[in-house]
């Protein structure tokens, strides 16, 4: 019995369980959808449309964890190695995420008039996003982030490629909107399953006596 207990596997299962609420998928799907409609939002809400790119994803995560996940499955603190990795990623995301989103959108829309022709800028931006998100996926040990990396890494050059054919905003909607909608729907379905599987407990157990 005991020789079959693989502690690393148990730790990994416990860690992955914290992602089972679908909130990361919803947040990322939402981000992609807002990137997809960024050219439209820019026309209507310039320059405050940037808020729509930066705020919804963290809001979904923070509010979702506070009001949906924690009341249903409680709180866990992982060991120091996991915590250190997460803190590094949080810092990295806090610095690079807003910069990346703003740079990618502004560059592709053409506000930055960079004197580099062809596909160098979108391919470079796509590659940067691909490497950045893959790095996060590796450190936080959450495979869905590889999918996120691919969706945005391919989406940026694809938007540039589709621009001469479909024009703005269809190029963005096709490149990011489709993958964003699929990821968002997947996240919502996962969240619904999560809520059904883990209803809010009736007992007051947050202050339980041991």
């Amino acid at each position: 019995m005991i020789e079959k207990i693989d502690l690393k596997k148990v730790e990994k299962q416990t860690y992955r369980f914290t992602f089972s609420d679908g909130l990361y998928d919803m947040a990322y799907g939402c981000l992609l959808i807002f990137i997809a409609i960024a050219p439209i939002l820019r026309e209507i809400l310039y320059p405050s449309y940037i808020i729509f790119l930066i705020l919804p994803a963290p809001l979904i995560l923070i509010l979702g964890k506070i009001y949906i996940t924690i009341p249903r499955v409680g709180i866990v603190k992982f060991n120091l190695n996991r915590t250190k990795s997460k803190n590094k990623i949080r810092l990295l995301i806090a610095i690079l995420f807003p910069i990346t989103v703003v740079m990618v959108v502004l560059t592709t829309i053409g506000i930055y008039n960079i004197k580099v022709g062809g596909y160098i800028v979108p391919v470079g931006a796509g590659l940067f996003a691909l490497i950045f998100l893959s790095f996060i996926a590796y450190i936080i040990d959450y495979p869905h982030f590889y999918l996120y990396a691919i969706s945005i890494g391919l989406g940026i050059p694809l938007a540039e490629l589709l621009n001469p054919i479909f024009g703005v905003p269809l190029d963005y909607i096709i490149s990011f909107g489709i993958s964003g909608t699929i990821i968002l729907i997947y996240g919502i379905i996962t969240l619904i399953k999560f809520i059904k599987k883990y209803p809010t407990p009736k007992e007051e157990i947050s202050s339980v006596k041991g």
Binding site: L80, S206, G210
Partner: protein, 108 residues
């Protein structure tokens, strides 16, 4: 029984020499879950182990009495919150239990 035979038997870890407090399946499950994390609250342990409120509470009390787990009261926002953590004694007991069980099965 000869002295030589006794030595052989003494060398083998029989099920009697293992920690029965940990050996109970529900408590082994609790100890394993707590071993791999820093700490977790009661609800998280309920979800992870699949135990009911009453069952988990009873097992937790036994483990706390043995000094294997610490019950930490803290505040999350303004609400009191109970976190459960394996003590050093609990970690050592779990390591020892695993070692003995492995040895027992190896020598079968």
């Amino acid at each position: 029984m000869s002295k030589g035979k006794n030595n052989i038997i003494d060398d083998i870890y029989t099920p009697n020499s293992i920690d029965k407090l940990i050996h109970e399946p529900a408590r082994l499950n609790i100890m394993t879950r707590l071993y791999v994390v820093e700490s977790a609250d009661f609800l998280f342990m309920m979800r992870q182990t699949g135990l009911t409120f009453g069952n988990l509470s009873a097992h937790m009390s036994k483990l706390e009495e043995a000094g294997y787990i610490d019950i930490i009261k803290e505040f999350v926002g303004k609400k009191p919150h109970t976190m459960l953590k394996l003590t050093e004694k609990g970690r050592r007991a779990f390591d020892d239990y695993r070692k003995k069980m492995k040895q027992f099965f190896n020598e079968l």
